[in-house]
C-alpha cells in the first residue's frame, strides 16, 4: 500500500464524502466521526509521502498506468508534500472543532456540510498534488463549487456575498483555463513537466507571455491579491464559523502554491525574471496589498472582518516574496504558506470559540474576555504573537526570510511595508488585549475573590484543536531550520 | 452531391437569419419563442447535413435525435411557464 499512498491521500476523502452522504440519510451524527477518521488516515498517508520524498526524492504517480504526458500524473516534491500534510492536519483539526458549532448553526444539514467539507479538502489536496494543468482546473472548480455552497449555508447576507464570490471565482478559473489553452496551442501538452521541457526548447513567443499572464491573473483573482480582493472580506465574514476556519487558512494559500508551482515547474527562472522583468510591478502590487490590507484592517470593529483584511495583507507577503527573485524571498514565501496557514487557523479558531460563547465578535464584546475565557485567549495570543512576528513563533521566521530577501533584492518599499504591517498587527492585537484584559466585564463588578464564577469556556472539542494549533505554531517555529534545509531548499534548488 | 448539400445548408442558414429578425424585433416573448423553435428545427437539419458532408451520417443522427428531444423539453417548460404566468409582455406581468 505504501507505493499507492499518493493516490490514497485524495481517494480516501473522496470516497468517504460519498459514504457520509449515504450514511447521513440515516445517522446524521456519524458523519462527524467519519470525517475525523478520514482526515486522520489522509494525514498518515501524507506523512508517509513526505517521509518518502525526504529519503528517496520526488515521487511520480501515474493514474491508469499510462506514462506521464498521456495519462494524469501526480508529481510530489518536497514542498507540496509538506503543504499536503498541512492541509490534512488543518482539515483534521477543523473537523474536530466543528462538532458543536455545526449543530448550533446549521441544524439538520449536518451530513451535507460534512460531505461538502470533505470534498472541498479533496479538491485542495488534488490541486496541490497534481502535475497536470487541466486536472488542476477541474479540482479548482470542485473546491470552488464546494466553497460557494459552504459559505452560503449560514444564510442572510452570506447569499449576496457568495454570489459575488461565485462571479469572481468563475472569472479566475476561466482565465486560468484560457491560459492553459494558450499553453496547449503552443506545446500540445497538458503535463506540467512536459510543457516545461517543450517551452524551454522553443523560443518564448508572445502567446506564451499571454498564457503566463492569464494564469497569473486567474490565480491572483482566486487568492484575492489587492485590487481583486473585494469578494473575500464579505464572503468570509458572513460564513458559518467552521467554514471560515477551513477556508481562510487553506483556500488562498493553495492558490499561492499554484502560483509558485506555475512559476517553478512550468515556466523557469530565466523567463520570468530576465525575459519578462515584471518583478518590480508585482512587488509594488504586493506592497500596495500589504499596506491596503493593514489599513483596512485597522478600520474594522468586528474581529472576524479584521482578520479577513489581514489575510489580504498576508497574500501580499507571499506574492511579494515569491517575486523578489532570490532564494531567501522564495524560502520566505514557501515557508509563509505553512506558517500563515496555521496562524490564520489559530486566530479563526479562537474567534470561533468567542463567537460560540459571546455571540458576536465585535471589539466592544471583548470586555473582560480574559477572565471569562482564559484558555481560548492563550491560544489567541499565541496566534497574535505569530502574526506580529515575535520569536519563537513561526511568524517571526517567515518574516525574517522575507525581510532578508527584500534586503538582498534591495526592494526597500517591500521591506518597509513588511515592518509597517508588523507594527499595524501589533497595534491591532494589543488593542484587543487592552480591551479584553484591562477593561472590566460590562455587566458586573470585577470579582477578585471568585474569578472562576465568570469563567465560561467553549467545549473541549473546540479548545483542543485551538491549543494544538497554538502548540504547532511554536513547534514549527522551533524546527524552522530543519524544515527549511530538508524540505524547502531542495525544492528551490531546482528552480534557481 | 457535396455542392448541393453545401447549397442546402447555406439556404437554411440564410432562412435562419430571416427568422432571427423576428426574434430580435419580436414585440412579445411568444414571437421570440416561436422563432427560436424554428431556428432549433433548422439546426437539426443542419446537423444532419453536416453528417452527410462528413459522410458519417450514422454518427450525426444520434445528436439530431438528442437535440430534438431536449428542444421539446425546453419548449414544454417554457410553455408551462406561460400557462402559469398568463401575461406575454413583461411590463404587464409585474403583479402576478
Amino acid at each position: 500500500m505504501i507505493e499507492q499512498a499518493p493516490a490514497l491521500i485524495v481517494v480516501i476523502p473522496l470516497i468517504s464524502a460519498l459514504f457520509i452522504t449515504i450514511i447521513g440519510l440515516y445517522q446524521p451524527r456519524v458523519s462527524w466521526l467519519l470525517t475525523i477518521i478520514t482526515f486522520a488516515l489522509s494525514s498518515i498517508f501524507a506523512f508517509i509521502c513526505l517521509k518518502q520524498v525526504v529519503t528517496v526524492g520526488p515521487i511520480s504517480y501515474v493514474f491508469g498506468n499510462w506514462p506521464a504526458p498521456f495519462g494524469i500524473e501526480y508529481a510530489i516534491d518536497h514542498l507540496n508534500a509538506l503543504i499536503v500534510l498541512m492541509i490534512c492536519v488543518v482539515a483534521f483539526l477543523v473537523a474536530i472543532y466543528s462538532k458543536h458549532d455545526i449543530i448550533k448553526e446549521l441544524g439538520d444539514k449536518i451530513p451535507h456540510f460534512y460531505s461538502l467539507f470533505t470534498l472541498l479538502v479533496t479538491g485542495l489536496l488534488g490541486i496541490t498534488l497534481t502535475g497536470d494543468a487541466f486536472n488542476l482546473y477541474v479540482l479548482l472548480e470542485i473546491s470552488a463549487l464546494t466553497s460557494y455552497a459552504l459559505l452560503a449555508l449560514s444564510g442572510g447576507r452570506a447569499y449576496i456575498a457568495t454570489f459575488n464570490y461565485l462571479i469572481m471565482g468563475t472569472i479566475g478559473a476561466c482565465f486560468y483555463l484560457l491560459g492553459v489553452g494558450y499553453l496547449l496551442i503552443n506545446t500540445g501538452s497538458l503535463n506540467m513537466a512536459d510543457i516545461s521541457v517543450i517551452l524551454s526548447s522553443n523560443t518564448y513567443s508572445y502567446t506564451v507571455l499571454v498564457a503566463f499572464l492569464f494564469i497569473m491573473i486567474g490565480m491572483w483573482t482566486k487568492m484575492a491579491l489587492f485590487p481583486l480582493h473585494s469578494w473575500l472580506p464579505n464572503a468570509y465574514t458572513y460564513a458559518p464559523t467552521s467554514t471560515s476556519c477551513l477556508l481562510a487558512p487553506l483556500m488562498t494559500k493553495v492558490s499561492v502554491y499554484v502560483m509558485l508551482r506555475m512559476m517553478t515547474s512550468v515556466f523557469n527562472y530565466d523567463y520570468i525574471f530576465n525575459v519578462l522583468q515584471w518583478q518590480h510591478i508585482i512587488v509594488a502590487l504586493a506592497v500596495i496589498a500589504i499596506l491596503a490590507g493593514s489599513v483596512l484592517a485597522l478600520r474594522q470593529d468586528n474581529l472576524k472582518r479584521m482578520l479577513t483584511y489581514l489575510i489580504v495583507a498576508e497574500i501580499g507577503y507571499m506574492v511579494g516574496g515569491a517575486w523578489l527573485g532570490n532564494a531567501n524571498g522564495f524560502t520566505g514565501a514557501s515557508y509563509h504558506i505553512i506558517a500563515d496557514g496555521f496562524m490564520t487557523l489559530c486566530l479563526f479558531l479562537a474567534i470561533g470559540c468567542i463567537i460560540y460563547k459571546v455571540g458576536d465578535a465585535s471589539l466592544s464584546s471583548m470586555k473582560g474576555i480574559f477572565t471569562k475565557m482564559p484558555i481560548t485567549m492563550v491560544g489567541f495570543l499565541i496566534g497574535a504573537f505569530s502574526m506580529i512576528g515575535i520569536p519563537p513563533t513561526c511568524g517571526f521566521f517567515s518574516k525574517w526570510y522575507l525581510i532578508s530577501g527584500a534586503y538582498e533584492a534591495s526592494a526597500w518599499a517591500f521591506l518597509v511595508a513588511l515592518l509597517i504591517s508588523s507594527l499595524v498587527n501589533a497595534v491591532l492585537f494589543f488593542r484587543i488585549i487592552e480591551v479584553g484584559y484591562f477593561q472590566a466585564l460590562p455587566s458586573e463588578e470585577p470579582n477578585h475573590h471568585h474569578p472562576k464564577i465568570t469563567r465560561d469556556e467553549a467545549p473541549l472539542t473546540m479548545l483542543i484543536p485551538l491549543l494544538t494549533t497554538a502548540g504547532l505554531l511554536i513547534g514549527i517555529g522551533l524546527y524552522t531550520a530543519d524544515i527549511v534545509t530538508y524540505l524547502i531548499h531542495p525544492f528551490i534548488k531546482n528552480f534557481l | 452531391m457535396i455542392p448541393f448539400l453545401y447549397g442546402a445548408g447555406l439556404f437554411l442558414l440564410i432562412n435562419m437569419v430571416l427568422v432571427f429578425i423576428r426574434a430580435v424585433q419580436g414585440p412579445t416573448v411568444i414571437d421570440r419563442l416561436l422563432s427560436i423553435n424554428v431556428i432549433g428545427t433548422k439546426c437539426i437539419n443542419l446537423i444532419v447535413i453536416a453528417g452527410l458532408i462528413f459522410s458519417r451520417l450514422d454518427m450525426f443522427v444520434d445528436i439530431a435525435i438528442g437535440y430534438g428531444l431536449l428542444n421539446y423539453i425546453a419548449a414544454v417548460c417554457t410553455a408551462k411557464f406561460y400557462q402559469h404566468n398568463k401575461t406575454l409582455s413583461p411590463d404587464s406581468g409585474a403583479s402576478s
Binding site: G155, Y159, I160, I171, C174 | -
Partner: protein
C-alpha cells in the same frame, strides 16, 4: 479577406469572451450575470474547439474494419484524418462544470431573491447599506 477567413474563429472567440466578461462585471441583474458567465465559458470552449479543428479531417471516431470474429483488423491510422480528440474531451468537462456552476448560481439567485426581494445588485446593495 484571407486573414479574416483563417482567423475568423479566434476573432469571434475574443469578442464573445469580452462580451461575457463585460456582462459579468457591469450588468446588474443577477440572472443576466449568470447568462454572461455562460457566454464567457462558451467563448473559451470555442477557443479550444477551434484549435482542435483540422482541414479535411473527419470526426474522431475511427472507422474500424472487423473480421468475421468481430476482432478488429489492424490498420494504420493517420493522425491527419481525424479531428483532435483531446481538446474535445477537455471541453466536455468544461461544459459540465459550466452547467454545475450555473445551477449553483441560480440556487444562490433564488435565495438572494427571497432574502432581498430583488434581483438587481445595485438595489440590493443600497438596501444593505
Amino acid at each position: 479577406m484571407e486573414f479574416i477567413i483563417n482567423y475568423y474563429n479566434y476573432i469571434i472567440v475574443v469578442i464573445i469572451m469580452m462580451l461575457g466578461l463585460w456582462g459579468m462585471l457591469a450588468l446588474s441583474n443577477l440572472v443576466k450575470k449568470l447568462i454572461s458567465m455562460a457566454i464567457f465559458q462558451t467563448g473559451i470552449i470555442l477557443f479550444y474547439i477551434s484549435m482542435g479543428a483540422k482541414k479535411g479531417a473527419s470526426i474522431p471516431i475511427i472507422k474500424q474494419a472487423y473480421d468475421e470474429h468481430h476482432h478488429p483488423i489492424h490498420q494504420t491510422i493517420n493522425n491527419m484524418d481525424y479531428a483532435n480528440p483531446l481538446t474535445q474531451i477537455l471541453m466536455l468537462t468544461a461544459i459540465v462544470v459550466g452547467v454545475a456552476t450555473l445551477g449553483l448560481g441560480l440556487a444562490l439567485t433564488q435565495r438572494v431573491y427571497s432574502e432581498h426581494k430583488s434581483l438587481h445588485e445595485d438595489e440590493i446593495l443600497e438596501t444593505l447599506s
